[in-house]
Amino acid sequence: MQKQTNKMDCTFVRSNLFSYQEQQLFGKELIEFEDHLHSCEECYRIVSEFQSVTSLIDKKKSIETNPFIRTRILQSIETRRKEAGKGAKPFTLRILRPISLSFVLLIAIVLGFSIGKQKETRLSNFDNHQIDLQALKTELNIPDFIDEDKTFFDNH
């Protein structure tokens, strides 16, 4: 094969490979395309390689599937359905359980707050009581016997 100049350029050939393969080139175009292949070694090689690679599309179409795959598919469907059946929770578990748990949690939080507040009130009442007692003691000149006793016992 000799390299010659041809009316049709390589770009046309290389951008119409599918059209040529699918027999979508007609008349003058087809004749010039094939003439070019006879005169251009590089395009001839590319067209051959292209046809050889794309012929695999037809080979791929004729694949045979595993005859046992149907049983496998049906088995896997059955297994999944059983699993789903086991895993399916009744309404009480699905809806009522989270609602009741949230309710209990809410009650616990409210209870915690109210207990905390009560303690705080009691402590502040006790402090006020102490202040009143001290004021009364000072007013009536009553000594802090308890503290003195405590000091006495601590010393002896």
Partner: protein, 195 residues
């Protein structure tokens, strides 16, 4: 069993309907998945997922489309998901290898076999074709595979892809142009390196 009866049976999880569906659609589902993932084992695993998905979402099936169009759509989506996951896995593996290479202080790629030398084998040609098809933009790839491998009409593809007839026509045309460009580049590169 008519399509309507089949859909009704599947909604009720009727055993006979399930068997009928698997019997009638398994081959197409496996083949379509295989055209996308290029591995028979993966295609078979995917077919199981497809049928389970059909049973799970049969309630959402709209009567406007034919059942087989809907099944094709699920198969294509599952196959694309699989390819995306595979791509991510490969990327992580590559990253791991690169880290290992830098740790070992040696270049692993020096030891890789020369792929191009065995290029004439069918296996190698298939690899070239699969790589070229997989590198197409997603919609071009789907329409090309459904048209060239599945031999579906433009109308059927437009129903599966939810696109207009002319969009599918244009997608397939662009897919072919891109594919031949990629293959021509590949062959020219190969010729240059082997001169």
């Amino acid at each position: 069993m008519t399509e309507q009866e089949l859909v009704g049976g599947l909604i009720n999880q009727n055993k006979e309907a399930i068997q009928y569906m698997v019997h009638n659609y398994q081959k197409n589902v496996i083949k379509t998945a295989y055209y996308f993932v290029a591995n028979m084992e993966d295609a078979e695993d995917l077919s199981q997922e497809v049928f389970l998905e059909i049973l799970k979402s049969i309630g959402r099936y709209k009567k406007g489309a034919t059942l087989y169009t809907w099944i094709y759509r699920i198969t294509v989506n599952k196959s694309l998901d699989h390819l995306r996951k595979q791509h991510r896995r490969r990327f992580i593996q590559k990253l791991g290898t690169l880290i290992q290479v830098s740790n070992d202080g040696m270049n692993r790629f020096d030891n890789e076999p020369a792929i191009l030398e065995t290029r004439n084998d069918d296996k190698e040609k298939r690899k070239i074709l699969d790589n070229a098809v997989n590198s197409l933009p997603e919609n071009q790839k789907i329409s090309f595979i459904l048209n060239k491998y599945e031999e579906l009409s433009y109308k059927e593809i437009s129903e599966i892809m939810n696109l207009s007839f002319s969009s599918v026509e244009s997608l397939i045309h662009r897919a072919k142009l891109n594919l031949q460009k990629k293959l021509v580049n590949h062959f020219s590169e190969y010729a240059k390196t082997n001169k």
